[in-house]
Symmetry: C2
Subunit: 261 residues, 2 copies
């Protein structure tokens, strides 16, 4: 049984330290910011149950940081792929392209989420990753992941879980694409976003869409006009309030009720 809202890069693998309440997505990090063990979004990438020494090793994991300006690519399909990426702040879309030129958004990734796992198989990226706003990522080379994984059981297990979880998410997207109607898809999408914002300490009912209607439609397998119409319909039904990019969920239950028949 899949949770109805497991759209894409879902909830964090481990819970986020609820004491940290990020206020801005562009905080300048303090001097020890490079230490993963001190990272604000460590909830997701940090495996639980590490010993003191394990934690020190873990801090050596991140090879580097990268800033990606809005509209620029983090990587492109065909690029050699030697790392996975952890979003520290910002918003990224991943797009897969078909041989004939058709393309489709395969996922959106926000702070605390991991992307690039699909490149591990072939050593080449199979999708484009583009920043939807200025974005800050940690770069984690596979090699280090492997090395550390051999030394630390918990780390290895964690990576396996992250990979498996990505499979589960894609699978629930398949279910959405294969068997839901337009309004169910949009409701599922909004609920999933809400959940993920909550996991990062933001409001569950009040957030900005960093992507266009067209990009939403692409992820959900529908046209931008249909996305827009469904938004309007939900608005008329007093379920949400939408002004351009700004979404306010008025009735979570109402959204939930849209799913399932």
């Amino acid at each position: 049984m899949l949770a109805p809202v497991a759209i894409n890069s879902g909830s964090a693998a481990f819970k986020v330290d609820s004491a940290s309440t990020p206020s801005s997505q562009f905080v300048v990090q303090p001097s020890n910011a490079n230490a993963c063990s001190a990272c604000r979004v460590r909830g997701l990438c940090h495996p639980g149950g590490l010993s003191e020494s394990d934690t020190r090793q873990f801090d050596a994991l991140v090879f580097s940081r990268r800033r990606v300006k809005q509209g620029h690519a983090l990587y492109r399909a065909g690029d050699p792929c030697g790392s996975v990426y952890l979003v520290r702040s910002g918003f990224v879309k991943a797009v897969v392209m078909h041989a004939d030129g058709r393309e489709q958004v395969s996922g959106f990734y926000m702070a605390g989420e991991m992307l690039g796992l699909d490149g591990l198989a072939s050593g080449l990226h199979v999708s484009d990753a583009t920043a939807l706003i200025d974005t800050d990522v940690c770069v984690v080379p596979f090699e280090r992941l492997e090395t550390l994984g051999r030394e630390t059981q918990a780390m290895q297990r964690h990576l396996n879980r992250m990979l498996s979880q990505e499979v589960v998410r894609k699978q629930s997207m398949m279910l959405l694409l294969g068997s839901m109607r337009a309004d169910e898809r949009v409701a599922t999408f909004l609920l999933n976003l809400s959940q993920r914002f909550t996991a990062q300490g933001f409001s569950p009912s009040d957030f900005l869409l960093r992507m266009t209607r067209e990009e939403i439609g692409s992820l959900l397998g529908m046209k931008l006009e249909t996305v827009s119409r469904v938004f309007s319909k939900f608005q008329k039904a007093q379920i949400v309030k939408i002004e351009g990019k700004h979404v306010r969920i008025v009735s979570i239950e109402g959204l939930g009720a849209m799913i399932g028949h």
Copy 2:
């Protein structure tokens, strides 16, 4: 760029020993059949580049075998999940279920393919796996996989790749479901099956569909009637010859031409 035919459980990770030409799906294994290194379908589950001693360890990997009769479940959603499965012979479908009862086929698995990777994340299976014909699987407990992975670099890397590959496949299914029309989906499905049969040493153009039209439709996000109509259409166009479960691909190029506008 995704290959247009990467439907689901695609080509083997490592090439199949082309000398082995399986003639029946129900061969009685010789006495050393338990040794993975002697397995007929080892192409997929066997990592390349193992040393002599690694190989011996690898042989200890498979905990047990299981036979599943046609129509019976290999596992069900919610079952505790401690292993992955390698299909030795037979045919399995995996089905995910939505909270409201709707369900969808998430993949078909044939000889030489691995299933159950989605259960690794939570420790519970998130799908049902059902044998479409009498089926024979190897059971590989995670624990052993992890233990061996720590000792053998190649093994660990291989598992990561298998997982990542599953992500890629689900992703290309998302593309199919989100942006292809009915006849493109069916053509993609048939080409993918053809490829996979080839990888197992069977004919690329002449095979049996072990699943119903309804199950095909479920995987492809369409109704059984539509599947049937597309089959008829392809048949009229002299691209395939279909008699019930028996498919003969007359023109691979014709099928390929169906994809992409």
